[in-house]
Symmetry: C2
Subunit: 410 residues, 2 copies
């Protein structure tokens, strides 16, 4: 079923934030077989919202709106939708009770702006917001559906998971969507396309292979509609894995840090990180995964070289001789942190993230990564790009993947 | 000048990545006075791209397209644009030289897929890509402009900064856009709206005040078009600052970690972090700012309580008596890390990020933050939300703001 996500919010149009809501919704919906036709962001203006609705109904069967329902922007979305569907507002007592109970819990005084959220369009279906005060509204237009929900991520996610997706699935009775994901590393996108050219050509009608590059790895998605293709899917999946050879890391849509966490938990291993250029980002990525405390012990971020010597006990002579961005230094860091934190595994990185600090021998983007597991060390040099934030991201992924591969080979 | 950003890419429609390119472009353009009318994402399909172009030209004067020009998706955008503007492709020798030189530098063999990028539409203006192989194409339709560029962030940013924005500014000769940003903390969005209701009512015609909430703080943007309003802008800006009182943190559009970095550099202070629940994220945020090595020394992430005792020397009895999420523990962490890393300042946090680990007294979202500066400690309890990733983000901002406020008051 073709779906369009419409985000209403000036904060996205002026670039204050990226539209991570849309990304989350798109992922959840795609996994359940909805096809996202477009994602549109418009500002908090009635005429722009109406234009977006017209465009949306032109290309999609389901429109999902987020945002524009907060107390400060005068419920622009709600009023616009009333106008668009030619409905008036009525007071909903149940809504007010919900709002009052939330304010009571938060111990905050209820003001008039928030009280106004209890007015809802007279012919819309109202879904109680389980996580906030703005109502979730469900409109029907001929065979099509429009759902408006708040833009606060937690409220949006709760509403989508608990109410909206189940209702949509029921109403539109999706055809079975089969898809498999593959995490692939150590090859460029065009290299991979060349490697898989023949495989793609032989895919039966209806099957499609999508390339989804991330920093430091590529995800492949093999997909087809219809339960009747499940045998063929198995066959094609096996073939693909074979074609990928050493570049294949895992058959999964999970992030590298989630896969690493699963592997560590399964093996009952613990891990620590010693980070220089990534400044704690690898530890962050590992600990964003719920339950990471089962295996993650801690980290020392030795941004200043003094800390490498004082807390990680890297040999001062080694630093003098080879420089901080070197195989020798990251190896010492990896062994030292595992010892200090008494873990089975460790990751150590040192590199030059830019924009400054590059030399001819070690240009911006030079990274050394050492991973340690039960006495064994694997140390590799990588070359990442030229943009600081991306380099940090890419380095974290490369380090996580290097550790993961080491565990998979055990 | 009304601008629409059109992102072409299945990877965004299936939710693999958030559209951070669009966020970056929107921010850069807004600061220079362009008005972003909409941001649209469509897939790698010709008919969908054409529909998006039609919609775009309906509401905007400038269309900026990114993506869909990589070697693996068969230059779908280029072919579609040729069709849309009724142009044929021709071989561009200069383009090929650029591509060849890039491949030579990367020491990678040039393949046919990439060589095809040297074919460009015959009547389009071609801008040399300084950072990659895909061409940047500039089309004119009546008084309107369409620019197509690669979706690779580094290439897009280089093209926008060096070529596209300067050319657009020259061609459209913008009216002066005046805007000022204010970082506000310690108040809810609706609380702030109530506080500023009267102020907003008295704003002269043309002035607008936008609320841009982030995790843990709100940014206000006061803006107006036209150089002739600069005196009034100064007046209104002073008034606003006065209205904000203690909630005012800084007159800036910079992120808290950038402001903290500037303050530390100015005072020649150094800083370290001791992180429990944030797992290194505060250190990461501080070190994403270029040049952070001038003031950031390092961090100990004591995710496991054992590390709090062993490496941060938090008293075991204190942990037993008050629990790890307590004022007493974060105070010891803050003092200890500043001592160990010999820094002037430090930030220490401990909290419960969820989804598990909450108790009745300390529900999920309970956070203690202690900031240390030159012998002084400030320790506060906060209550953040219920979603793990957001809680980590919010806690990092609250910690950075608490440190920043301490330095501003010195």
């Amino acid at each position: 079923m073709r779906t369009e996500i419409i985000t209403i919010g000036d904060e996205i149009l002026i670039g204050q934030i990226a539209d991570t809501n849309a990304a989350w919704m798109a992922r959840e919906l795609t996994q359940r077989g909805f096809e996202i036709a477009a994602i549109t962001t418009v500002g908090d203006q009635s005429d722009e919202i109406i234009r977006a609705l017209d465009h949306g109904f032109e290309r999609a069967d389901i429109l999902l709106l987020t945002g524009g329902v907060g107390p400060t922007n005068d419920d622009i979305t709600k009023d616009t939708l009333c106008h668009y569907f030619n409905m008036s507002l009525e007071f909903d007592k149940e809504m007010l009770l919900n709002i009052e109970s939330i304010f009571l819990k938060r111990k905050v005084q209820l003001n008039q702006l928030t009280r106004n959220q209890a007015y809802v369009p007279v012919n819309a279906r109202v879904i109680q917001n389980r996580a906030g005060t703005a109502p979730i509204l469900w409109f029907v237009k001929e065979e099509k559906v429009l759902v408006s929900m708040p833009g606060v991520p937690y409220e949006m996610k709760t509403a989508m998971t608990d109410d909206i997706i189940p209702c949509l699935l029921e109403q539109f009775m999706m055809n079975e969507y089969l898809c498999r994901f593959y995490l692939v590393a150590g090859i460029t996108e065009s290299g991979l396309a060349t490697l898989l050219a023949e495989y793609e050509n032989q895919l039966p009608a209806g099957f499609s292979l999508a390339y989804l590059p991330s920093f430091g790895y590529i995800r492949l998605r093999l997909s087809v509609w219809g339960e009747e293709n499940s045998e063929e899917m198995k066959l094609q999946s096996r073939k693909l894995k074979q074609m990928l050879g050493d570049h294949f890391v895992a058959k999964s849509e999970k992030a590298p840090e989630e896969l690493l966490g699963e592997k560590l938990r399964k093996k009952k291993y613990t891990i620590a990180t010693a980070e220089s250029c990534t400044g704690g980002y690898i530890a962050h990525r590992i600990t964003v995964v719920p339950g990471a405390s089962d295996y993650f012990v801690g980290s020392i971020v030795s941004y200043d070289n003094r800390i490498k010597e004082e807390l990680l006990e890297v040999n001062g002579k080694t630093i003098m001789t080879y420089g901080v961005v070197s195989s020798e230094v990251v190896r010492q860091m990896a062994v030292s942190i595992a010892g200090k934190m008494r873990t089975d595994c460790s990751i150590a990185v040192s590199g030059i993230m830019g924009p400054d600090g590059g030399t001819k021998d070690k240009p911006v983007g030079t990274v050394w990564i050492s991973t340690f597991c039960k006495g064994e060390l694997l140390t590799q040099r990588y070359q990442v790009g030229r943009s600081r934030a991306e380099n940090i991201d890419r380095t974290a992924n490369l380090a996580t993947l290097q550790m993961l591969k080491m565990l998979l080979r055990e």
